[in-house]
């Protein structure tokens, strides 16, 4: 048995898969690739694969991770090739490595997440920047999402941000937002907040959201989750297919 860390992405129409649908797609892909995954015991055995935090439906990502307990150790470059060959279009595997046994779960260690949010708006980058700065200067923000409300500490939740022109009346927000238990906030909720707070720019329409990086800390230098996990070399005994 070996623990395999896979860095993958979700894009195109497949960004509309729910987390459960994504899980099923991966389980079947492992089967098609002929990569045997350990199963849990019990009446309803499930493949032992753990995932990072669920990606909201409609969000694409180039920084998703999963850990699968595989039965035999296929060489890591080989595994990328085998799985890539059978994945549905829209899912792609970027990197893979074997990691040591005892490691905290992906979901439990992510502290902040970087997003690219593409929006359509009549406002210019400069105008929006000053509005976001105003928002950032407030000590606390009341965030409303799915009928729930919570207060977050502004500086703690919006760690960094930037706005770039993308042409064609489009702007891209680059956001570094807190994740996990404390002060977490979702990117679309933040854009909504800008809309609500400044009715004069109410025409900010979200075109697309992409998750671009996940980190295990919130301070500089940021440590990418993939680098955080220590790899083990499976060395000469790994199986080439």
């Amino acid at each position: 048995m070996a623990k395999l860390l896979l860095h993958y992405g979700k894009d195109g129409p497949l960004k509309y898969l729910s987390h459960l649908e994504l899980i099923r797609a991966f389980e079947r892909s492992f089967r098609r690739a002929g990569v045997e995954v350990e199963a849990s015991g019990g009446f309803n055995p499930r493949p032992k694969i753990s995932y990072g935090p669920a990606l909201p439906v409609g969000t694409s990502s180039s920084c998703e991770y999963l850990v699968a307990e595989v039965k035999s150790s296929i060489c890591d470059d080989d595994i990328i090739e085998r799985i890539s060959r059978v994945l549905p279009k829209g899912l792609s595997v970027f990197r893979a490595k074997y990691i040591t046994e005892k490691q905290p779960s992906i979901a439990s260690i992510i502290e902040c997440v970087a997003y690219k949010v593409e929006v359509k708006t009549l406002a210019g980058a400069g105008e929006l920047s000053s509005l976001v700065e105003l928002l950032r200067n407030e000590e606390r923000l009341l965030i409303k999402h799915k009928g729930k409300e919570k207060w977050v500490d502004t500086k703690e939740s919006i760690l960094d941000w930037n706005i770039e022109e993308a042409g064609g009346g489009r702007l891209v927000f680059l956001l570094l937002l807190a994740a996990g238990e404390r002060n977490s906030v979702r990117p679309e909720v933040l854009i909504d907040k800008v809309n609500q707070s400044y009715p004069q720019v109410q025409d900010i329409e979200v075109v697309g959201i992409e998750r671009v990086a996940e980190y295990v800390n919130r301070d500089i230098p940021l440590i990418d989750i993939y680098d955080f996990y220590k790899n083990v070399t499976i060395g000469s005994e790994c199986e080439k297919s």
Binding site: P13, Y16, R24, A25, R28, F30, P45, G58, V86, P88
Partner: protein, 615 residues
């Protein structure tokens, strides 16, 4: 032109957006040149119901196997999606290229059962096409329909240009070739229809005229001079010559069936007299064990499925069922692949089979005695005795099953209170058998679920002449059962009798019933098979507006000499045989299974130049 950007813009506002995306594994994304034929295969229900449909998947793979053809799929958008599509003027699209249905050469619908007919109309309308065939012109796709509903196509004739009767594996290529040629020749609609009518198994309703008697029954059905006087169902004579489809589409979302399903045979010769499928898919044609097993292994490779199902009308009757299951369970031992057998006979053999495949998981078992008394079971030719039922369930309890589902029908012809009481008694005896066999905690978990569905007589069966129960009769019978089927271990389930009555009227309807379907759709009926969406009042109003009585079609005892609205559709089973079967039923005589008990002279083999093929 792809409508994807428009579709995507509304996806955030609808439930289950996965219904409307593409890129499922094994879906085919390709284009053809101007000469090629573009086919949209449409299933008139929501994605997760339509996707597993075997017929559609077979055609999809066959058609896409040709270089000059592209086949894409479309399903009925759910109500929330329909609302935004109408609001934003997004026409109905296929999944693969998100092209408007109107851009295809052929638009094919599966008529799986009567309660999806209004969805066909709604999909045509959403596609921006005239719903009535008479209003469509040369610029519109050819609208075709296949599936079991085509054995009585009449109610759908106002909406469909061409019906394809029977198994389409061979016919579809003849049709596509003809369409391709006609397209190149820029043939007009009328010419296209006349040409297609020459293909055996194709029914072009505009080439047939129907006259009625004063009492509303059909007087005669007349074919145009160059159209055949009757349409004979097409079949694949040697089913084992047809390769198992290798690349079924794997849905992302949870579909009603989401597994590797391989047809082990076509047809069933048990001869249950109420069962349309048992009559219209004859004769029995098996696939070999080798073919089934290798087909499954290929499908597992292309899909990654974790469950295998041997499908057919009665898989326990497949002659190689034991060997196949054994081979499969040995082959996939330890790989977390589960096996299932969807249709079980009421006998020890079936228990032996499921015991083999359900080594750990002992979920429920379903048996279908269909009727409560021996008299009624003999009447419907269901060759099962009370003893069979009790022995079988006892064996199941001994093997550790605790949940049993019993399937019955109410409203079978000649039914009396005694037959209803028989359902109650038999169900209670099953509970008693459970209590006597199970022990300890298992005893307290015992559940017997009784499902009582309201019988709707179907065309091309020995009961095609009988009157269906009225709604009041059905409801009284349901009340009778509800009052008596009580107790800690019993639960009763039934289907809405109102929808059975509507189903019954459409099933044996004539052309005029098309008007009722049209009005029902105008009144907002759609997704009629969904209990919550079904609107009985609208259907009543629709029949009334069309000047028709549903009971004329469903609740009337028909004369044996009456010209039935579907009499020009030949399934191969002779009307004489059906009549004789009805008489045998009345005399309490059973009819054997022609695979073992000798030919029963149903007519199928000589009429279709075929035979039972058992390996």
């Amino acid at each position: 032109m792809s409508l994807w950007s428009q579709v995507e813009r509304v996806l955030r506002s609808v439930e289950k957006p996965t219904r409307y995306i593409n890129s499922e594994l094994n879906s085919v994304h390709k284009t053809v040149t101007g000469e090629g034929v573009r086919v949209a295969l449409a299933y008139p229900d929501v994605y997760e119901v339509g996707l597993p449909n075997m017929g559609l998947q077979i055609l999809y793979e066959l058609l896409n196997g040709r270089e000059d053809v592209v086949a894409e799929r479309a399903y009925a958008p759910w109500l929330d999606m329909e609302a935004v599509m109408r609001e934003q003027s997004i026409p109905l699209f296929t999944l693969e290229s998100h092209s408007a249905l109107a851009d295809f050469d052929i638009l094919g619908f599966t008529l799986q059962h009567e309660l999806i007919y209004t969805n066909v109309l709604n999909m045509l309308d959403l596609a921006g096409l005239p719903v009535l065939a008479a209003e469509r012109g040369d610029e519109h796709p050819l609208v075709i329909a296949g599936g079991p509903g085509t054995v009585n196509p009449e109610p759908m004739t106002p909406f469909i240009d061409v019906f394809v009767v029977g198994e389409a594996e061979e016919l579809i290529f003849e049709l596509v070739d003809a369409v391709k040629e006609l397209k190149r020749a820029r043939a007009g609609r009328e010419e296209v229809l006349r040409r297609l009518a020459r293909i055996p198994g194709v029914y072009v309703p505009t080439l047939y005229s129907v006259e009625y008697n004063d009492d509303g029954t059909v007087a005669k059905i007349e074919a145009a001079p160059d159209a055949p006087s009757s349409i004979t169902r097409r079949i694949v004579k040697d089913f084992s010559a047809i390769p198992v489809p290798r690349r079924p589409i794997v849905p992302f979302m949870d579909a009603v069936h989401d597994r590797c399903s391989v047809e082990v045979m076509r047809g069933c010769a048990r001869g249950c007299r109420f069962c349309q499928a048992g009559m219209i898919y004859r004769p029995v044609r098996e696939r070999t064990q080798e073919q089934v097993v290798s087909g499954i292994s290929q499908i597992l490779e292309t899909t990654g499925y974790e469950e295998i199902s041997l499908s057919s009308l009665s898989s326990a009757d497949y002659s190689a069922v034991e060997g196949t299951l054994k081979e499969l369970s040995e082959r996939y031992d330890g790989q977390n692949v589960s096996l299932s057998l969807p249709s079980l006979r009421v006998d020890a053999f079936s228990i032996g089979l499921v015991k083999e495949i359900a080594k750990v998981k002992k979920t429920g078992l379903t048996f279908a005695p269909e009727a409560g008394t021996q008299r009624m079971r003999d009447f419907i030719n269901k060759n099962v005795t009370e003893e069979d039922v009790l022995n079988t369930v006892t064996l199941a309890f001994q093997e550790g099953w605790q949940r049993i589902k019993l399937y019955f029908m109410i409203g079978l012809p000649t039914e009396t209170e005694e037959d209803l009481q028989g359902i109650v008694d038999l169900s209670q005896k099953v509970v008693e058998a459970g209590l006597a066999t199970l022990s300890g905690a298992a005893k307290s978990r015992l559940t017997v679920t009784v499902s009582a569905s309201a019988f709707a007589p179907k065309p091309h069966t020995p009961f095609q002449w009988v009157a269906q129960d009225t709604l009041e009769e059905f409801e009284a019978k349901q009340g009778y059962l509800a009052a008596r089927l009580k107790g800690r271990h019993l639960s009763l389930k039934w289907h809405n009798a109102k929808s059975s009555v509507v189903e019954g009227a459409i099933a044996r309807g004539d052309r005029r019933v098309g008007d009722a379907i049209y009005r029902a759709w105008l009144l907002g009926c759609k997704f009629d098979a969904w209990t919550k969406e079904f609107n009985y009042e609208s259907w009543r109003q629709a029949f009334a507006e069309a000047g028709l009585e549903g009971s004329f079609y469903a609740g009337r005892r028909r004369d044996f000499d009456e010209v039935l609205p579907w009499s020009h559709i030949e399934t191969g089973v002779d009307a004489e045989f059906l009549k004789e079967e009805f008489h045998r039923a009345t005399r309490g005589e059973k009819t054997g299974d022609c695979r073992f008990d000798g030919c029963g002279d149903c007519g199928v083999c000589p009429n279709l130049d075929a035979e039972n093929i058992i390996f």
